[in-house]
């Protein structure tokens, strides 16, 4: 059954989903940008090259994945690359969700904003900036959203203690 199988790696996913609209669209746009892929627990994850996320978002949007649902980050300290961004995008047409994944290196990374593709990413990117310290280039209003403006540090980073600094 397609729902339960697990496919790890770009080659396996390309073989398993040759006709998947998002996979097809990303390959047709730039097959180099698709760095890795995974199908696990019924969820498709496409890893996109860090510099190309904005165009990748526009590509899947044109392929029918019309609704931006969520973006958040994961801090994999002390691994490298340190940060992972997970974008969740829903298709009202295919009634399906995909995940775009971007890996970012360094302690103060920056990535292109996708607010020009989906304005709804505005608050979400501000939240990631606030709590993880990842900058989004081209964001119209990148400032803290949850924490006070004068706050030091980014609370959801793994090197930030749960109780905060005292």
């Amino acid at each position: 059954m397609a729902e339960t199988k697990t496919l790890i790696g770009k080659a396996a996913v390309l073989e398993g989903f040759p006709a998947h609209p998002a996979v097809k669209a990303v390959l047709a746009w730039d097959s180099e940008a698709l760095e890795d892929a995974k199908f696990d627990r019924g969820e498709l994850t496409l890893t996109i090259a860090a510099g190309k996320i904005r165009s990748a978002a526009a590509t899947v949007q044109a392929a029918g994945y019309n609704f931006f649902e969520d973006v958040t980050a994961v801090d994999w300290l002390p691994s490298s690359p340190r940060f992972q961004l997970s974008y969740h995008i829903v298709s009202h047409l295919y009634k399906e969700r995909i995940r775009l994944r971007v890996l970012l290196d360094g302690d103060a990374p920056s990535v292109e904003s996708i607010t020009s593709v989906w304005p709804s990413a505005n608050f979400y990117e501000r939240e990631v900036f606030d709590l993880f310290g990842i900058r989004f280039e081209g964001h119209p209003d990148l400032r803290r959203i949850m924490m006070p403006d004068e706050w030091q540090g980014h609370p959801l980073r793994k090197d930030y203690p749960v109780e905060g600094y005292r």
Binding site: D40, F67, E69, S120
Partner: protein
């Protein structure tokens, strides 16, 4: 956030006599449904710009989750959207169960659907009462809270708690529902459609209520998608999408229900949609009661699900499992999952990353109100200041889940 600092830069000098004014609404304001601050730039009575400032309720729940065992997070999820606790519990538990690959007994699934819909009624009742109250129809508030009280009593009998129920647990439900539970739910939904008629009689034909909502706070379909608006607000703008029907979970595919759509995109459309949603929820609860399967309410997974009290006191193994789950939690296979559910406010989604230990590596909550708040400027721009109150009421936000 120092209230003294200007959030919006000073209005541009136009050279005319007309000066724009910056007005702070909230964070302490009776119509803000929590602690929301809106910075509004007004030209006379007309809204020119509007900027929501949030974070006053930020408690860092996502960070707290990283320090807790998986089963300890269930009560935290209640406190996000505190008006629909079961929807939060359900979303979290489904996500963890997806990570674990756990099968849930059918009876537990049906009960979950029943409770999720009862929660929707609970939440929509508060929305209707407060929304009408904001606009000046005080009576409705008393009526809706009368019905909500009965739902809370049912929850109290079920979970021992009225609001922070934590009743849906990883692997099933906390305990068997009490003996009179099904009769009470049946009694409630038998009389409830008449109550909706009663609200409708008070409001739908009321010319003041109508004039305050019709044509106010218009959100086009394209804007709804662009700004991430979901749930009844999105369906009020003509987008036909509901996770319960289109990406079903927890056995929703076995239920028959209609998804109401309106195309006007104004506050009135959102009002009508929620009223119809309440009627549809009643039908689904009736279907759940009629078709409730027999069986267990917890999955057969002794290392994950806490044993019954009775077994714990009589069986050595059950006692050991209980002790181990409470003191060390249970390891969850590494991976990442995103689980979406249709909460009363829209598409809720929990993203959980596991590194194979007993505590989640990362938990993220995608809450519908957070995205909906982005659309508020589009809805209010160019309208009168008083319409802001109507719009805030009609989009039905909860600050607990926005600030997290």
């Amino acid at each position: 956030m120092n209230p003294g600092t200007p959030i919006l830069e000073a209005p541009a000098a136009t050279g005319s006599h007309d000066q724009h004014m910056i007005l702070n609404m909230g964070p302490q304001h009776p119509a803000m449904h929590g602690v929301l601050r809106l910075v509004v730039e007004i030209d006379g009575e007309i809204v020119v710009r509007l900027q929501p400032e949030i974070g006053y309720l930020h408690t860092g729940i996502e960070k707290t989750c990283e320090a807790k065992f998986y089963h300890q997070i269930v009560p935290l999820t209640d406190r996000l959207d505190y008006l629909s606790p079961m929807a939060n519990n359900l979303c979290y538990c489904l996500a963890v169960e997806k990570l674990l690959g756990l099968e849930i007994p059918e009876k537990a699934q049906w009960l979950r659907v029943l409770l999720a819909e009862l929660t929707r009624l609970n939440s929509h009742l508060i929305w209707l009462g407060t929304h009408a109250m904001d606009i000046g129809a005080l009576t409705v508030f008393l009526y809706t809270f009368r019905e909500r009280e009965e739902i809370l009593r049912i929850f109290e009998g079920l979970a021992g708690q009225r609001m922070m129920t934590s009743y849906i647990r990883i692997g099933g439900l906390a305990m068997e529902p009490p003996l009179d539970f099904f009769d009470r739910v049946q009694g409630f939904i038998r009389s409830f459609p008449e109550k909706i008629d009663e609200y409708s009689n008070l409001l739908t034909g009321n010319p003041i209520f109508r004039n305050r909502l019709k044509g106010v706070g218009i959100l086009s379909a394209a804007d709804a998608i662009a700004l991430g608006v979901t749930g009844p607000n999105m369906r009020g703008s003509g987008i036909d999408f509901d996770l319960r029907r289109d990406m079903p979970y927890s056995g929703y595919e076995k239920f028959q229900f209609k998804v109401p759509i309106a195309t006007e995109g104004d506050c009135w459309a959102r009002y009508l949609i929620r009223l119809i949603e309440m009627r549809e929820s009643v039908k689904m609860i009736q279907q759940a009661l009629d078709g409730m399967p027999e069986g267990l309410i917890k999955a057969d997974a002794p290392k994950i699900v806490l044993p019954d009290r009775e077994k714990m006191k009589t069986q050595m193994e059950a006692l050991i499992h209980h002790f181990k789950i409470v003191t060390e939690g249970f390891a969850v296979p590494a991976g990442e999952v995103y689980q979406g559910v249709e909460s009363p406010r829209g598409q809720m989604g929990y993203y959980i990353v596991s590194d194979g230990t007993a505590k989640p590596y990362r938990v993220h909550f995608r809450n519908p109100s957070f995205a909906t708040l982005q659309a508020i400027e589009t809805m209010c721009k160019g309208r009168m200041l008083a319409d802001v109150i109507a719009v805030i009421g009609s989009i039905d936000i909860v600050l607990g889940e926005i600030d997290r």
